[in-house]
């Protein structure tokens, strides 16, 4: 396995060929914020929150392979502000009512906003009209919260490879559909996986409510990314 040497914000790191910049950074204990990225799934570069700068060029760290001698800028103030802006865009694009959301406290979009101490977005709220889909027996699609990360499309496939979730339409109208037939055949395990893989509260299991008390939810105490920054690689 070829070893690759690179720097991230001036600090030296080692990676193996084939790793993306996000993976290489993580292996060296450096957190690059991600949102549509999910371990085990092919990265899709949808959210753009992982934008880094290399040699003056901007790129998504989740899809860009690490290369020998790369000098990655990750925490430059203007990069951090770009990420804040992208997270704010996601907030204003949907209808993110945290106070009534089942995923609050365990939500990766919210956690990123907390990490960046976003108090209010710089953009106007778009208040889109989006339809809920509660037609499946085991899951509900709360589209007001969907950030089009495509994790569900990538992760949840029927045994013959057909997609249980699929994107529909385009531009700001793009939305996620659950295939009626395939969604009806989801097992409890698959329904749980669908809810877990969704970073926000857009896919919810029916008949399962709030389970974890406030104060003990995933991101109540420590910011998202702490696991990478404090993890074994450090």
């Amino acid at each position: 396995m070829t070893e690759i040497r690179f720097t991230i914000d001036g600090r030296e790191g080692r990676a193996t060929a084939g790793q993306t910049i996000v993976e290489a950074a993580k292996a060296n204990g450096v957190y690059i914020p991600v949102l549509c990225h999910y371990e085990g799934l092919k990265p899709v570069g949808s959210c753009r929150v992982c934008t880094v700068r290399v040699g003056g060029k901007y790129m998504a760290a989740c899809t860009q392979p690490i290369a020998e001698g790369m000098a990655v800028e990750n925490t430059a103030p203007d990069l951090e502000d770009m990420r804040r802006a992208l997270i704010e865009m996601l907030f204003v694009e949907g209808n993110h009512m945290c106070p009534t959301c089942e995923k609050s406290g365990n939500c990766e979009l919210q956690a990123l906003a907390y990490r960046y101490r976003i108090m209010a977005p710089r953009f106007p709220y778009l208040f889109p009209v989006r339809e809920l889909d509660a037609s499946s027996p085991k899951i509900m699609l709360e589209r007001n919260r969907c950030i089009q990360c495509l994790r569900c499309v990538r992760a949840i496939r029927a045994k013959d490879g057909r997609g249980v979730f699929a994107a529909r339409d385009r531009t700001g109208r793009v939305t996620i559909d659950a295939d009626r037939n395939l969604a009806a055949r989801l097992t409890d395990e698959e329904a749980r996986r669908a809810m877990d893989v969704c970073p926000v509260g857009a896919i919810l299991r029916k008949e399962v409510g709030f389970a974890v008390p406030i104060g003990r939810r995933k991101f109540d105490r420590k910011p998202i990314g702490s696991d990478v920054e404090e993890g074994p690689a450090r």
């Binding site: 609050s104 209010a120 208040f127 009209v129």
Partner: protein, 181 residues
């Protein structure tokens, strides 16, 4: 040297943020030493009696009266703070945004199963404020200087923010206090 002056208002809010302010419990004794309260629902001062240093606004704008009050707060307060999700992003009342207003009013007053047929009427009286086409976060109507998110923001967050503003310190809020729910 006079004390800093604070005024508060609840627009299209549930008063939960004001209740959270009162959750500062016995710190209220410290507060009244530090500041003077002016126009606020928690006291009996109905009009601004002097220039205000910090205005705390709960609730977004859902009708013309909210806009009027918000604008007068902007005129009279040096620093204006949106307190809570409703003021910051519209909150629960904003769930109606995107639904045409006439549909909402028809649902409530014309088609509701609890309205007697002879009483079907969309209220129309000059004593009632006119409802806006949608619920607006405060910063889309006037300039807002600071935001305290939460539903409600915790008493600790409000305490931390208000004392920082009074003392002219920058708002440096710890991670566990910044919550949107």
């Amino acid at each position: 040297m006079s004390k800093p002056v604070i005024a508060t208002a609840s627009l299209a809010g549930c008063f939960g943020c004001h209740m959270s302010l009162l959750d500062i419990d016995d710190r209220i004794l410290q507060l009244v030493e530090l500041v003077a309260l002016d126009k606020s629902p928690v006291d009996d001062i109905k009009r601004f009696t002097r220039p205000v240093d910090i205005g705390l606004i709960e609730g977004g704008c859902c009708n013309s009266e909210n806009v009027h009050v918000l604008r007068s707060f902007r005129e009279n307060c040096r620093t204006l703070v949106s307190v809570g999700e409703c003021a910051t992003m519209g909150g629960l009342p904003a769930l109606r945004n995107g639904i045409p207003l006439k549909e909402c009013l028809d649902e409530a007053y014309m088609n509701s199963p609890t309205v007697a047929p002879e009483d079907r009427l969309i209220p129309n009286d000059e004593e009632l404020p006119i409802i806006l086409d949608k619920v607006y976060p405060c910063h889309e109507i006037v300039k807002i200087d600071a935001f305290l998110p939460g539903c409600p923001p915790s008493a600790d967050l409000i305490w931390e923010a208000v004392t920082a503003l009074i003392q002219g310190r920058p708002l440096d809020l710890p991670y566990n206090l910044v919550k949107y729910d």
